[in-house]
Symmetry: C2
Subunit: 249 residues, 2 copies
DNA sequence: CCTATCTTCCACTGATCTATGGATAACAGT
DNA sequence: ACTGTTATCCATAGATCAGTGGAAGATAGG
């Protein structure tokens, strides 16, 4: 009594969307998607990172591929999976945002772990751009190196959390540190900040992570050798920050 | 070998997000969510609109409520369900966008039905604001009246598709018509445009629908009696259009 | 209190999904 | 061709889910 469409294709439409929904019913598949929004990876790497058996991980990836959310690239005997486009990352971001907004449990989990550095003290993207240009801040990418290599904030230094303690000496103690990671659900940056503060350094987290930075239309560098810092270009979008470039395609 | 978090709450996080994913595995639940993003409805109304048995619809709504994506309001013997916040609509929008972008089938279904008016000729929100101010366009809300009542573009006239033929005379044939509906997945506006054009009127669809209009930060009117047209205010956000107001909370 | 209406709860059946180990397939190097 | 590595396919068993009708709650009105 509601939809009286000419063709009968109406129901099929939601059925198609459910193909996508099917991907995010399973916690591990969300985790896999989240990882793939950061960088491409081989099946084995994904299995190890998520703690899945190889065959199980492969099966999950097949489901994701049938929903067209991931694509593959073969290199010798290895198959690399990647997120199939920016829309996928946007969807995962929306899912995470929704979770934080509506599920008190999510917020609680995040807070219980990163007790030290509250979100209240996070640096906004606009503020970072501002301060990076004046040069009195060092931007730290604390994700694994592969993810840094796949894309990072221009001028950011790669210093994976696992090596942070060992390489503390490389940081100029006179500068404030701004650390970032995978996004609001990722705890790498908060942990890094906690560690740095324990050592007496000034440090804060960036709001969100690299995917959101990219989605905001800000520049992303892929030069893996770039560790010099201090070259965030002035290529911020027209309104200065927080742009949402066309969703049309 | 990837996530070595202090507490063990890491896995729980994705498990929580999967609660949300669980909602969108089922086509009918997506359809229900989509409807609820337009306006609140009673269980029976939802069951009828989606073609579900009452008990089945209720069961689906329970799943959605447990995931906190919908909330309820009781009025006498009737229970009204509504989307639990703007984030929910944003998530549904992202799902639809992803579907259109990645699933060729979705695009195909949409195109096969609304063969007449292609998306190429859609009016942008910016253009509508522009032309509405100069007054040479009539904005048509072709959704059911309840949805118009729950929120519509200021100045839009309510003319549900089902009544379009009967009330064609109310339209000034000298003005171009811009019709809108629920969003890119909704076919009401394209059908309306096809009908209008068959009658020799100039008519185009608005890009997207009301949820996207709202998400762009543009004003939404809820005055159910407003049928006069011509009062879109000049309250567009700072950059003129397409703003994305804070995702923070 | 009793009835009518709308909604939720419950139990049950058929269907679908997940994890797993073993087999197969694709590829690189010798 | 043969071997080792990496990924996919397949069959199976256990778990979870959807739809259904009947019963039970909640509310309004007589």
């Amino acid at each position: 009594m509601e939809d009286r469409s000419p063709a009968g294709g109406r129901a099929d439409l939601y059925e198609q969307l459910a193909r996508i929904g099917k991907v995010v019913v399973h916690p591990k598949r969300i985790e896999l998607l989240d990882l793939l929004c950061q960088a491409e990876r081989s099946v084995e790497a994904l299995a190890v990172a998520t703690g899945l058996k190889l065959t199980t991980a492969s099966a999950h990836l097949q489901v994701m591929r049938q929903a067209r959310l991931v694509e593959t690239r073969r290199e010798g005997t290895r198959v690399y999976y990647r997120a199939a486009g920016e829309e996928v990352c946007r969807f995962v971001t929306a899912l995470g945002d929704l979770g934080r907004a509506r599920l008190a449990e999510v917020d609680q989990i995040l807070r219980s772990i990163s007790a030290g550095s509250d979100s209240a003290e996070r640096v906004t993207r606009a503020e970072l751009l501002e301060r990076a240009r004046s040069g009195d801040v060092v931007v730290l990418d604390v994700r694994p190196v592969e993810e840094y290599a796949a894309g990072h904030i221009p001028g950011a230094i790669s210093l994976p959390l696992e090596h942070l303690e060992a390489r503390l000496g490389e940081l100029d103690p006179r500068l404030e540190v701004v650390a970032y990671c995978r996004g609001p659900l990722c705890l790498l940056a908060p942990e890094a900040v906690a560690t740095l503060r324990a050592r007496g350094l000034r440090a804060r987290c960036l709001e969100d992570g690299l995917p959101e930075w990219r989605q905001a239309g800000l520049p992303v560098a892929t030069d893996p050798a770039d560790r010099s810092g201090r070259d965030i270009p002035a290529t911020a979008p027209a309104d200065g920050h927080e742009a949402t470039p066309g969703r049309r395609r």
